[in-house]
Each structure stands twice: as C-alpha cells, then as structure tokens.
C-alpha cells in the first residue's frame, strides 16, 4: 500500500469549477498534482483520500491565469516605486501611494541618503502625475534630491521620464536646446521631462539604463512568482521575451525550483530574430516545455500605446488632434511575418492598441488563413483596446481570440475620455461585452508592471467599468462576474492553448486553485477586488498568500 499514490481531498465552503457538468462543488480530490474528482464529502471514502480541511470556510476558484503580464515586474522592485496607487512589493510590504510631487521628492531624498556609491544613479519608477493637480514635476524638484547624483523618475505610462540637471548634462541636453521630446517651460528652458523613446533612450544610456532594462534573472523571476502568487495567479505569461539561451536558462532554473509558485508561459519576441531564425527558434523552444514552463507563443507588435499617442487610430484619430502614431512594422511586412508563422503552425500573440492596428492585424491573419487554411490557430490580439463590433465580427470569422486590457478603464479611462478617444469611443474602450457578443474568446489582463497584476482587480474593472474618477465608462460593455472569472481563468487559458490542462477544476487537469475568502460570483460586484486571497494551490501544492 505504501507506494500507492496519495490522494488529498480539499474541502471548501464552495468550489467554483467552471466545469459545466458540475459548476459548483464542495470537495476536490487531487492525486499526482492533478484533479482526480470533484463533488462532495463522499470523495474521501470513494477515493480513499486524506481530508485536508484547512480551506473549509473558503471559496476555491480555478487558479488565475494572467494572460498578458511581464515577468520583468520582478526586477522593478530593485528600484524605488513612487506611484500614486499603493502596490505590494515582492516581500509583501506596501510601497508607493504618494499623493503629491513633494511626497515623491521627500521619499527619494530618504532613498538617496541611504545610497553609498555616489556614482550610482537613483532611478525610480511608477510615477503617475496625471492624478496630481498643480504644476508638473521639474528639474528643480529632482535637483533637490541630489545635485551630484543622476536622478531619473520613470512614469508608469512608460512614455515619459523626469530627470535632474545631472542627467540632462550627461545626456548632452543643454537647457537651451529645442528638440522633439524635450519639454520646455515658459522661459524656453528644459523642464527635465523627456517624452518618447528617442530622448528617453539617450537619458537611459547616460545612466547606464539605471537598472530598469536589466535582463531577467532567477531572483527576478522568483520575485515575480511571489507577486503573482500572492494575488491568486497560478499561471502567467511573460509576454515578450527574447528567449535567448541565457533567458531560457534563467526561466528553467527558476521554474524548476520546487517552491516556484506559478507556471510561466513566455512569448518569443519575434523582432529579435530574422524571420528564418525566429521560425527555427520557436520550433526548437517548443520541444523544451515542462509542466511549469510552456513555450510556443510568438509575440508581434504592430503599434505603440494610446496614452503615448503612438497607437495607430482610424478616423477621426486622436480626440485632441495629436498626429497618428507610426506603424512599428509596415503593413506589407506584417503580412509576410504573420503568414510565415501561421503557415509554419505557430501561435501568434499580436500587440495592437489603436483600432487601425487591430483592423490591420485582423486583415493580415485573414490573408494568412486564406493562404494556409488552418483551424484552431488561436491567434490572439493583445490589448486591442479600441476595437468595435465590426472588428470583433471579423476576428470571430477568422477564429481569433482577444485579450483586452480591462485595467485601462480604471487607470487611464478618464485620460482616454478627455484626450485620446473622446467621450463616445471611450464607451467601447476594452469592449468585453461586445467581444463576447460577437463570439470572440475573451481574456482580460493587467500588462504588469504597467498596471499591477491582480486578476481580482481586472475582473472588477470588466464588471464595473469604473474610472479613477468613480464614473462608469460604457455601461453596456460591462460583463457579469461569471464572464469575468472565466476571462481570467479558462478564457485566458484558451488564448494560450492551455485550456485542456488548466483554467477550470475538472478531472485530469492540473490541481491549480485560487483560495479566496469569498465568492466573486455572489459578493457585491464592486467588492470583487477586495476579496482576500488566502492561498493558491498549484499542482496540488499549497502556497499561502501572506
């Protein structure tokens, strides 16, 4: 009897399985890291299992799947976080929550005092001044932190840096210069605000990247695992990784650790490779997958971001009249790339923010399918934030999936209403209900570290569509809690071609659960984001959230 595999039966107040043959259960039997059975208390006797009732008062849902996150989140915490909204560091400590420029400056002065090497740049991240009234941050603010050390404050949007005089000097930005991307004050002098990749890249070079562009290493991956696990995630993408041999070695080392708490699904950044090399590399990677590290996704990027005014929009363009963004890849080239990867049987995740980019990518997938008919490709548009029903209908026709950036509704919805999309189009910002109505398989995401990974919050955004100002943006695009739960579990798993292995609590699938204090399907929907996560179970192994 001793070599008979151990069966554990977890008891819970309620288990939301997303299994249509038994949507709600109270017990789940686990063997070999997989779900053996779901049902009631009878499972203990039926399967000779050991009862584990530590979650008896809790609610189990399928482990959350972050369908668009970046494991670089785990690296960010080596630099101070100065965001408006509090975030949780990998060690579980709260960080940020600064409500004024003065608070940010005061915090960074403390950090500066603790630094020992005078040549080490001080680089902070997550700055979010759109919520502040009054003047913008200037070089004078940052010179108060240090006149001799380089100081950089990166905005959470990813498109702006504030720097001190030391960085302006080192980067060769004379205070009297006038170049695109260098913000000047009423006297024509540089304010230290740098906008856009060209001038930001130059400042990053001056500071030696300041650490924000470090390569992912094992400690960084461990930290990301901790951050994601704490909010109930059991599987996360790392949705753009060069996947060099060094990158893969770090991913394998981290995910092979017995206590690494999540499964990782990295996507190969296609632009790192020529077309032939990329096709060869993804084919090679697919043979290297393990239960906790799954290769196969290919990431393409078609345009930039809406709030950075680098997305490609259809008529009437940006609400404030800003010029349209430029393609990151020419339409003709995109067709060639999509057709090549599709033709070779690979799985594309395509970043499109503006509606014109989504329209173009959909068209190119359609052409690729015409050239190489193939079912079940599950090519997925990532972000796809401005798509309307016309685009979703075509996506459905071509068998495409979507992963919408629901967190944007809260974090940037008011900006989109005022500046980028205007009051009408913002109603279908991240149009979850329309996607579902059109029959497009749906996931929703955080794009962490752009916004914090937390599927409860992402569900809350899709269900309530509340902006940071507390108003509903697009009431008709709200989805139900069940639809939202599906979108952060089975729906996301479907876009990753992992829905046969995870995303629901069904016999044969990985025993991956999020253990919650309450049921997201029955609580007041505006409290979904506040339901405490007690623990996760991954492959039958329990990881507590605290």
């Amino acid at each position: 009897m001793s070599d008979k595999p151990q069966v554990t039966v977890f008891a819970a107040r309620r288990i939301v399985t997303l299994d249509p043959s038994l949507p709600i259960a109270t017990h789940v039997a686990v063997r070999d890291g997989r779900v053996l059975a779901t049902g009631g208390a009878e499972l203990v006797a039926q399967f000779g299992g050991r009862l584990d009732d530590r979650f008896a008062g809790k609610v189990l849902v399928p482990g959350f799947v972050e369908g668009h996150g970046h494991a670089t989140d785990g690296l960010m915490w080596r630099a101070p976080y100065v965001g408006f909204f509090p975030r949780t560091a990998p060690n579980g400590q709260p960080a940020g929550g600064f409500k004024s420029i003065a608070e940010v400056v005061a915090h960074l002065r403390q950090v500066e005092i603790s630094m020992t090497d005078p040549d080490q740049p001080l680089v902070a991240w997550g700055f979010d001044p759109i919520y502040f009234d009054g003047p913008r941050m200037t070089v004078a603010d940052l010179d108060q932190i240090s006149a001799t050390r380089m100081v950089v404050v990166a905005h959470v949007s990813g498109h702006i840096l504030n720097v001190n005089t030391k960085v302006l000097d080192k980067a060769g930005f004379s205070p009297d210069s006038n170049l695109d991307g260098l913000v000047r004050d009423g006297h024509g002098r540089l304010t230290g605000e740098l906008q856009g990749p060209a001038v930001m890249g130059r400042a990053n070079r001056a500071t030696g990247d300041g650490g924000l562009l470090r390569a992912l290493d094992v400690p960084g991956l461990r930290d990301y695992g901790r951050i994601a696990q704490r909010v109930g995630v059991t599987t996360s993408t790392d949705l753009a990784n060069a996947l060099t041999p060094d990158n893969v070695a770090a991913l394998r080392a981290a995910t092979n650790e017995a206590d690494f708490p999540i499964r990782l699904v990295p996507a190969m950044r296609a632009r790192e490779y020529s077309l032939d090399d990329g096709l060869a590399r993804i084919a090679e990677l697919k043979t290297m997958s393990t239960d906790k590290l799954r290769f196969g996704l290919v990431k393409l990027v078609v345009d930039g971001s809406i709030q950075g005014f680098t997305a490609r929009l259809r008529w009437p363009g940006y609400h404030n009249g800003a010029p349209n963004g430029l393609w990151y890849v020419a339409p003709g080239e995109l067709e060639g790339i999509v057709t090549a990867y599709h033709g070779a049987g690979h799985h594309l995740h395509i970043h499109t923010n503006g509606d014109e980019a989504s329209e173009l990518a959909t068209e190119m997938v359609g052409r690729a399918i015409a050239a190489h008919p193939r079912r079940d490709h599950r090519h997925t548009l990532q972000h796809c934030q401005m798509a309307d029903s016309g685009i979703f209908r075509r996506m459905q026709t071509f068998g495409m999936c979507v992963n919408l950036f629901a967190n944007h509704i809260f974090y940037w919805g008011e900006q989109h209403a005022a500046l980028t999309m205007g009051p009408s189009r913002v109603r279908h910002l991240d149009a979850c209900a329309t996607a579902l109505a059109c029959g497009v398989p749906l996931a929703i995401h955080s794009d962490t570290p752009v916004t914090p990974v937390d599927p409860r919050f992402t569900m809350w955004c899709a269900v309530n569509r509340l902006s940071s100002a507390g108003r509903v943006l697009g009431e008709h695009e709200r989805i139900t809690p069940l639809q939202a739960l599906h979108a952060v579990t089975l729906g996301a798993a479907y876009t990753l071609k992992l829905d046969h292995l995870l995303g629901s609590i069904e016999v044969g699938k990985f025993a991956d659960f999020a253990v919650l204090e309450d049921d997201p399907l029955t609580v007041d929907p505006v409290t979904i984001k506040d339901i405490p996560v007690v623990a996760t179970v991954m492959g039958g192994q329990v990881f507590t959230a605290s």
Partner: protein, 298 residues
Amino acid sequence: MIPLTVIGGFLGAGKTTLVNHLLSSAHKRWGVLVNDFGAINVDAALIAAQDGQTMALTNGCVCCSLGDDLGDALATIAMRQPEHVIVEASGVSDPWKIAQLALIEPGFLLEPLVVLVDTPALLAQLGDRWVGDTVARQLAFAEIIVLNKCDQASAATRAAVRARMQDLRPEAVLLEATGAVLAEATLSFTPASRPAVSRFYAEAVGHHFPTYALPAEIAFDRDRLRAVLGDLPRSVLRIKGVCQLGADAKPVLLQYAAERWAFTPAPAGLPSGLVVIGTPELPPQSELADQFAAAALD
C-alpha cells in the same frame, strides 16, 4: 567632426540598394548604420571581418546595425573613425526624428536629410489607407528628395510625382535617380569644401544650397537668441557653428535644423562663427546678420 547623413524613405524606395552601392564602390571610408544587417549584400571578397553587429570591409568602410539607440550605435561606429556616417532610417520611421537626435551627438555634423521615394509606386502609396500618412510624414522635412526608379516611371508619372513633392515639401531639392545610384556629393551640403573624387563627380552634383557665414564673435543673450531661432523662415535649413551663449565663457556648438536646435560643448579648434545653409529663398545675408546681431549680449 564627422559628417552624418540620415537616409529615409518607405520600404522599397531603394535605401538598402543605395547603402550597398556606397559600401561596395567606396571612394571614402563610409560608416553605415542599418536596420537590417542581413539585407546588406556586399561581395564576400570585400568583407575583412564580421562580428555580430559590425562588418568591416577591406576598403575601409564599416557597417553596424542601428539597434534601439542611435547614440549607442554612433559611439560604436565613431571608434572606427569613418570619414562620413550614413544612417539608414527604418522604412516605417520618421527620419526627421532620427536626424534631430544627431544634432546633439558630439562629434557629428548633420548633413542634408535625404529621402528616397519609389517613383512608380509613390502616388499609390500616398493614397493608401494604411501607409499614406507615413509616406507623407517621411517627406515632410526632407532636404533632398531622390525620385528613385525613374526608369520604371513614365514621364507623366514623374511629372505628377514632382507636382506632389512641390505640395508636400517645396523646400526640398528634387533629384531623379535609377537603381538608387547617387553622386556621393549628394549626401553633403558642401560638396566643394573637400576635394572632389573626380571632375565628373563634382560636376554631376545637381543641387545647390545657398550658404553663407555669419560672424558670431559676440556672446548671445539666451532668450533673444531663442526668439531668433524660433522665428527663422523654413528656407533656413541649417545653421551650424560655434558661438558663446550667455555670460558663460565656454564656447558652444549650435546646430539648427528645421525649427529644432541643440547646443553642445564646442570641440576644440573650431573658430567661432555660424554657417547658414538654405533653399534659394533664403533671406539675404544682411537681414539674418542683423537679426542675430540684435540677439547679442549687451
């Protein structure tokens, strides 16, 4: 200072062909930054050494991949001491954004922004729903527009393209070319300032940019100089030279291009004085000299 020329233009306009010509029939040591290293197609016999992102040729030329940061790539290529650097902008980028950044690269002098067009395809490209605005934006600050593939375009098409260029960018010099073959002098504002490779090359130069010098012995008031620079007409394509800004005694190098400018520490040995380069509509020398004189520190 190393002259630097940015070459823009949509995919298929002939940028890579031009780069291949320059590298394989070099009359000087070109340093070339390209987006797609793999597209460079020089005779294997000409390759002296190749490592990852850099390729050195037996004729002294060197070719590097542009990567994510122009400054990084320029620093790499400057170590090879090229006589002239060419930056090939990507086919979907705005070459003017790249050219501007070169204004603040120490050791480089920005030469004309050259934009190639696929003459037989251009009118269709400008009308294309997806790429029309990109192609127009690439031309918006061009100083030399090369109508390439003219052998494949009818006289009527060439005339129509010239008319569109007159609308889009009247300040630019238009040149016709076939197979992206250009006189090397086209890549500089001041072909006469260095020895011509041959009489034929010198005479082949089809463009002419009025150029004159302004004295800048005096120090400028920062605010008034900014006002002057901010008000210059579009016929002023470049101002470059050494001057003094404010009461600060250190000389600075001013580089101005199309309503954008940068000051960098002046390299040793350059005399003070500004060179103005423009289109035939450039205001008279005396008029600009008066404007700059009025910006002098009291």
